[in-house]
Amino acid sequence: MNETATAPKMTTRNVDVFYGDKKAIDDISIDIDMENVTAFIGPSGCGKSTFLRTMNRMNDTIPSARVTGEITLDGENIYAPSMDVVQLRARVGMVFQKPNPFPKSIYDNIAYGPRIHGLATGKTELDQIVEKSLQRAGLWNEVKDRLQESGTALSGGQQQRLCIARAIAVDPEVILMDEPCSALDPIATAKIEELIHELRGKYAIVIVTHNMQQAARVSQKTAFFHLGNMVEYGDTSEMFTNPKEDRTRDYITGRYG
């Protein structure tokens, strides 16, 4: 039991990703743990989103994409033939750049996952999951009186929190966030950041962001990607005050290029 508490939730070892012949990710090994929020930063095209998507096999949907190396969840290789990808994506949830609620009611947006995964045995239990997920996503008080309204009628920030609640509803262990705030205004962004702070420790969280201030605010560990390589990985506080690599410094201080 102690072993699982200290062991990293996810590990990647010598991961390469190819799109056809082109190598997009080169030899990345990193541990993701429950205690820390991990941020991936780097310029556009550096591979940070590609790498994030390997962690719940979202790249499977791209025919030319090929992943080598090993990625594990609780020590289990997620690319093993025995791995159930649907189950994997419930355990490793994802939140995207643009909020993408289903064109259904707020309630059904949350209830959809638990229903198809058979997580609730009846209406009461499903109601509880919906409420708890919305509570955790900090959205409950704003929507509790209009659960039957369409999820798409919410504001952008509320929609993004709805998507986080939807990911939470299937009881994941890891949440991957790909630029979750880039379409949101500063207040909605602050709410998401506060939410990330509250969810820390309950889930292993990885966030890809272009906003370095955001990486500095929400994460405890930061990885800097450049041209498909992970240039530097370390404590966020150290990375933003005293980076070890010149390329990291040039990027975070705005000298890149």
């Binding site: 370095m212 201030q213 933003f240 005293n242 980076p243 410094r249 201080t253 705005g254 000298r255 290029g257």
Partner: protein, 240 residues
């Protein structure tokens, strides 16, 4: 361990302009503080009351420069959200401007004593003060050079060499006390010379503070805590 020259400018060129303007202002406030030390010591040596008053007047410009630098640093932090070595440099600049302003205050304080010291008294130990002032001013100069060139080695040397100024202080302190015991009529002037020696010793300490900030800005590390000189006001003082 000189930092490697930055190979690229900021993508936003105005940021580089801001930084070089702040470096220029630090050079200016530092140059004024050094000049004030020299003029204060000249006024003391020549009992030149006009010159002493000029040092007091000049201090207002040093104060104004400090405020200007502080405003600029705060504005730059707010507008540019600096990171890494940029952030360290701005924090160092903010602290250095405050420290250099204090150096100016010590020079002013020395000047204010010129008028009340009888130039006809012969107080032997006071003859060491010009050499001590020179050593302290050199530390200030080197610390500011280290800032301008981001030279962590020179910054370390400044911290090390502050011991010279401390040793001057301890020597002057002991000999002035002895002199005052032997010449009770000189106690008034002797006390002023003691304060002047103390002011110079503090200038050396502040040069050290500047050097420590330069070292931090250049390397991201804090300089190793140095051993203090043997100071008679230190509870652990051991007489030679």
């Amino acid at each position: 361990m000189k930092m490697p020259e930055k190979n690229t400018e900021h993508t936003v060129k105005a940021f580089d302009t801001d930084i070089s303007e702040m470096r220029g202002l630090i050079a200016e406030i530092g140059g004024r503080a050094e000049k004030s030390i020299a003029l204060a010591m000249k006024a003391l040596a020549e009992h030149d009351l006009d010159l002493a008053r000029q040092v007091v007047r000049d201090d207002k410009q040093i104060d104004a420069l400090e405020q200007k630098i502080d405003r600029m640093v705060i504005q730059t932090i707010a507008l540019r959200a600096p990171m890494a070595d940029d952030l360290r440099e701005l924090v160092a600049t903010l602290k250095i401007s405050g420290v250099v302003e204090r150096i100016g205050d010590y020079a002013k304080n020395i000047s204010k004593r010129v008028a009340v010291i009888d130039p006809n008294l012969h107080i032997g130990p006071a003859s060491l003060l010009p050499a001590m002032a020179q050593a302290a001013a050199q530390l200030v100069d080197d610390a500011l050079t280290a800032y301008a060139t981001r030279d962590a080695d020179l910054a370390e040397q400044v911290v090390e060499r502050d011991r010279i100024v401390d040793d001057f202080y301890n020597t002057i302190f002991r000999s002035l006390v002895t002199h005052m015991v032997d010449n009770p009529k000189h106690i008034g002037a002797g006390a002023h010379f003691l304060f002047i020696a103390k002011n110079l010793e503090r200038i050396g300490d502040h040069a050290t503070n500047v050097a420590e900030m330069v070292y931090f800005a250049a390397t991201g590390e804090t300089i190793a805590e140095r051993e203090q000189g043997n100071n008679p006001t230190d509870p652990l003082y051991t007489p030679h």
